[in-house]
């Protein structure tokens, strides 16, 4: 608890005032090896590298699938390369600057006021790291793909580029472009490589996310129109005072956009079919990074730019958060299929993130940002491990799956990790995230905080019953043969679990004993604080 209290104090100190923090706070000690690489195109590299590689894969000759493995390797090493770029970005990031960093600003559609403006602050960096990890994991999880390998990895890389583009966009037009563009490759991945209900999953995904895109477009155009229709650049658009009425309209549209992505109750219609029938690699991308964009946009546009709208709509957000977690818990209680259960469980972290945003206090907003990362990893892990378990056990039915632990030791451990991560237990990254969120929310949204906590208790109870039965119960002699995870599966699940554990154990980064010098990780909590100060400034009094 001492680590947690130190963490809370650090966030509270960083949050209340938007004054130049550099004067009030000593500069952090630089990580050895930072400033190795200076490129003004760092963020563009993260967007366009996967697109270019996808084009290369698309035109590579591949007679009768002879080079299928090469395609997979290219996708894998592309993701490794992008993680390396991200690692540089992470280490060179100035955690105590309140402005966006790695900025790129190129004139584009000057007639309507759209610019190719990229840049990230703390929450953006957190999302980029999440997207990088999830990208690598999705390639590993897709290693078993045998059909139309070229098309599969092209689409996977393009979807990753779209997520990165939406994260780093600092212009609403660019954000909308990448947000909308991410729907097509992901829907096609579900449609082309999914299970029996893939058609239903793909249409639902396209329909709900299409609705979300329309809602985001309406919010964008409402703000654009109210701000004088001069610019989509966030630096301009978000600084023009907008009437509370417009903020309310835009806010409702933004909530719909976010609710279709995360998803939040009652916009969860796509989760069951997508997570139950899509390939594991696609599930990981959707649950891990693509769906987190919903909460990210809420944070960036509603909470970060429209404080009056955010305050007016915070009860609605809190209600949606509570309804989502409780609904997920109740559905999990009565579900009899493991993959469907995982689909509803993946909604839980999104509910917690939105609770933090609804609370509108610096501490809760900080918790929300951290839960973007931990929730993404936890959702990807729970969806991935349940899909793997169902695949290895040849069924997802709870009536058949019993007492698997002795025969699947690795998967058992990873499943337990996933459940711990999902519920926010100590040592997991979700623990500080949930704690910060609940501590921050209990004052401003006490009812919703208790309702979400109650929902988590229902989820926990359901999971205990399921885990006990499936993993540690009496084995079912009539069940089909089972096998433990392959090494590839262990790797992709291990990376997700490792990410949760690492940030849970070292939220401020590992340091040389007795010093304040970080070893190679400046600490996610330190880095994410960079933009939160500015975002939380209007709510500092809370």
């Amino acid at each position: 608890m001492s680590r947690l209290s130190a963490l809370l104090t650090a966030v509270q100190q960083a949050s209340p005032t938007p004054a130049p923090v550099a004067t009030a706070t000593p500069l952090p000690v630089a990580v050895p090896g930072s400033s190795l690489f200076q490129s003004s195109l760092l963020l563009s590299l993260l967007i366009w590298t996967p697109v270019l590689v996808a084009l290369v894969i698309a035109v590579l000759p591949n007679p009768r699938g002879r080079f299928d493995t090469l395609m997979k390797q290219i996708a894998f090493f592309t993701n490794i390369g992008m993680l390396f770029i991200l690692w540089i970005a992470y280490n060179q990031f100035e955690p105590f600057l309140s402005t966006v960093q790695y900025e790129e600003n190129v004139s584009w559609l000057s007639r309507i006021g759209a610019v190719y403006h990229l840049g990230i602050d703390g929450p953006g960096l957190v999302m980029l790291i999440l997207s990088g990890l999830v990208g690598l994991v999705s390639v590993l999880a897709s290693w078993g793909i045998r059909e139309r390998v070229r098309s599969y990895f092209c689409l996977l890389l393009i979807s990753e580029a779209c997520v990165n583009g939406a994260v780093v966009a600092h212009d609403m037009f660019v954000l909308l472009l990448f947000w909308g563009a991410s729907t097509v490759p992901l829907a096609l991945l579900v449609l082309g490589w999914g299970g029996p209900h893939r058609e239903s999953g793909a249409w639902r995904l396209a329909g709900y996310w299409g609705l979300g895109t329309v809602a985001l477009l309406i919010a964008t155009l409402a703000l654009y129109s109210a701000a004088g229709a001069n610019s989509f650049d966030m630096d301009v658009l978000f600084k023009v005072p907008v009437s509370p009425r417009i903020q309310l309209v835009a806010g409702v549209a933004l909530i719909i956009a976010a609710a279709t992505r995360l998803p939040l109750f009652p916009f969860q219609g796509w989760v069951r079919d997508v997570y139950s029938h899509a390939p594991i690699g696609v599930c990981v991308v959707v649950a891990g990074s693509a769906s987190r964009l919903g909460a990210y946009v809420l944070l960036r546009v509603l909470v970060g730019a429209e404080p009056i709208g955010a305050q007016l709509l915070s009860p609605l957000l809190a209600l949606l958060a509570a309804a989502t977690v409780i609904y997920a818990g109740l559905v999990v209680l009565r579900m009899r299929d493991l993959r469907r259960i995982s689909a509803y469980l993946s909604m839980v972290p999104g509910g917690v993130t939105v609770l933090g945003l609804a609370a509108l206090s610096p501490l809760a907003i900080g918790g929300s940002v951290l839960s973007l990362f931990s929730g993404g990893l936890a959702a990807a892990l729970i969806v991935g491990v349940c899909a793997t378990l169902a695949e290895r056990a040849q069924t997802g039915s709870l009536d058949v799956l019993k007492g698997l632990a002795p025969r699947m030791p690795s998967l058992t451990w990873i499943t337990v990790f996933a459940v711990l991560g999902l519920l926010g237990l100590p040592l997991m990254a979700s623990f500080p995230a949930y704690e910060m969120t609940f501590f921050g929310a209990v004052k401003n949204q006490p009812l919703a905080a208790f309702a979400v906590a109650g929902g988590l208790a229902i989820v926990a109870a359901a999971l205990v019953v399921i885990l006990h039965r499936v993993l540690f119960g009496t084995p079912n002699p009539d069940a089909p043969g089972v096998s433990d995870a392959s090494s590839g599966e262990k790797w992709f699940l291990g990376i997700l679990a490792g990410g949760l554990l690492w940030v849970g154990m070292f939220p401020g980064g590992p340091k040389l004993p007795g010093t304040d010098t970080p070893i190679f990780d400046p600490g996610l909590v330190n880095s994410m604080a960079a933009g939160i100060t500015e975002i939380a400034a209007p709510y500092a009094a809370k």
Partner: protein, 470 residues
């Protein structure tokens, strides 16, 4: 430079007449016919380059009947690009006659160029008729019954347009577009003016095949050869939309009289087109309805009566004419329905990518040409406070994108049938170097339209300014 202004028109019309006479009189040897498409495509590319080179010269010829301004430059460049790409990508084994197909395509393009440069109602009308007549000829070659239906629908459209034009002429006292616009500045919105304006736009809507007037042209495009369909959906539609932009600019001072019509037509077209695209499975029919939906967006931009709205519409017309003209042509002989496209991504990758790009662009999916065009119109609608129309347009776009996913699934995710089992209507388009180059060119243009959106949009705005809008 002024003397070179008519070179693109002369190249296009001259080549069309030469091909028609050559084909009919037989002085073009049969062995040459295979080489004609790349040669004609090259001629059109030359015309495109000349247009870009000399088209910036502002001038008027024939006593103001022909005007070369930024609007004409933009529209003609887009049409020439679409013509070149369509001729290159066409599968000539699916056409009834190479020479007639090529010449009608060029004549339809010439018709659109005449409309784009028209400074008077008369050449505007003449260009419209020429573009539509070329389509009727190609449709009639394969399906005389549908050709006859088109002639009847065209007659109705012409009657409506001419009646409306006559009333406007009577009100303004001139057929010159610029002078008529100035005269209209002093007119007031009255019922006697609203009726002819309704007739005028109804005639143009029938010509453009916009819902609810789409029955004739959409049906005709389904029964026609790929090139005939490309003319009906793309070139004839573009001619009518370009004419509508010019007429809307003239009537902007009395915008009250036409706002309601335009908004109603746009709403029905955007939502109806998207819903119909979702409801059908045949690729050609889906493409036709997607084109209807995007044409609705063009009309939505006109209903704003602002520079930004008309600029957005002009910008979108560039994307529309490219996709709607090249779409049916790149689809080639897909009369067998969806199954004809099964697995085309594996066996004809360039053509399949071209089809995907055209469909996605017409649906307004990011990051292709159609998305940028529709977004420019959407921004103008938001600027003008037309949020209801905007919401309907967005609904139509979502329906369109969902519909396109079905076609993409067939293209890329279904296995191609064995060659021996392919029957009539399911045959794969013939592979040629020119057709592959054409398909790749379509893809590049669709993507480059977004990447180079700034100069293109600036030109479109200059075009709208040239029509007298501020």
């Amino acid at each position: 430079m002024r003397s070179l202004l008519l070179v693109p028109e002369a190249l296009v019309a001259g080549t069309a007449v030469l091909l028609l006479l050559g084909g009919q009189l037989g002085f073009l040897p049969r062995s040459w016919r295979g080489r004609l498409p790349p040669v004609v495509a090259a001629v059109v590319v030359v015309a495109f380059i000349v247009e870009l080179w000399v088209g910036g010269t502002l001038s008027s010829l024939f006593g103001g009947g022909f005007i070369q301004d930024r609007f004409a430059l933009f529209a003609k460049a887009a049409v020439l690009l679409a013509l070149a790409a369509a001729i290159a990508v066409a599968d000539w084994t699916a056409e009834d006659s190479t020479t007639v197909g090529l010449s009608m395509m060029l004549l339809a393009g010439f018709g659109v160029m005449v409309v784009a440069s028209a400074g008077d109602f008369v050449p505007l009308w003449a260009g419209l008729e020429l573009a539509a007549a070329a389509g009727v000829v190609l449709v009639g070659l394969r399906r005389p019954d549908i050709g006859l239906r088109l002639v009847i629908a065209g007659g109705i459209a012409t009657a409506l347009f001419v009646m409306g034009f006559a009333f406007v002429y009577a009100t303004a006292g001139t057929a010159d577009l610029l002078t008529a616009g100035q005269a209209m500045a002093n007119a007031t919105s009255t019922l006697p003016l609203a009726i002819p304006v309704l007739l005028l736009f109804a005639g143009l809507a029938v010509r453009a095949g916009i819902a609810p007037f789409h029955m004739a042209s959409v049906t005709a495009s389904l029964g026609a050869s790929p090139l005939g369909s490309g003319i009906m959906l793309g070139l004839a539609g573009a001619a009518a939309l370009i004419a509508a932009i010019k007429v809307a600019a003239v009537l902007t001072p009395v915008s009250d009289t036409l706002s309601l019509y335009l908004e109603a037509i746009a709403a029905v077209a955007m939502v109806g087109g998207g819903a119909a695209a979702l409801g059908v499975r045949a690729p050609r029919a889906r493409l036709a309805y997607l084109a209807v939906a995007q044409a609705g967006w063009v009309v939505a931009g006109l209903s704003t009566h602002y520079l930004s709205g008309l600029g957005g519409s002009v910008f979108l017309i560039g994307a529309f004419v490219l996709a709607a003209t090249c779409g049916p042509v790149v689809l080639a002989g897909a009369e067998g329905g969806e199954a004809a496209l099964a697995g085309m991504g594996a066996v004809r990758p360039a053509r399949a990518l071209g089809i995907a790009m055209v469909f996605l662009s017409l649906a307004g999916a990011p990051p292709l040409a159609g998305f940028f065009g529709e977004f420019a119109v959407a921004a103008a609608l938001a600027q003008g406070g037309h949020f209801g129309l905007l919401a309907l347009g967005l609904l139509g776009s979502v329906l369109s994108v969902v519909a396109v996913l079905g076609t993409l699934r067939v293209l890329y995710l279904q296995s191609p049938p064995e060659e021996g089992r392919r029957s009539v209507g399911f045959a794969l388009p013939a592979w040629t170097l020119t057709s592959s180059a054409g398909a790749i060119a379509i893809c590049i243009v669709m993507v480059a339209y977004g990447a180079l959106a700034n100069p293109i949009l600036s030109l479109a705005y200059q075009g709208a300014e040239a029509l007298g809008l501020r």
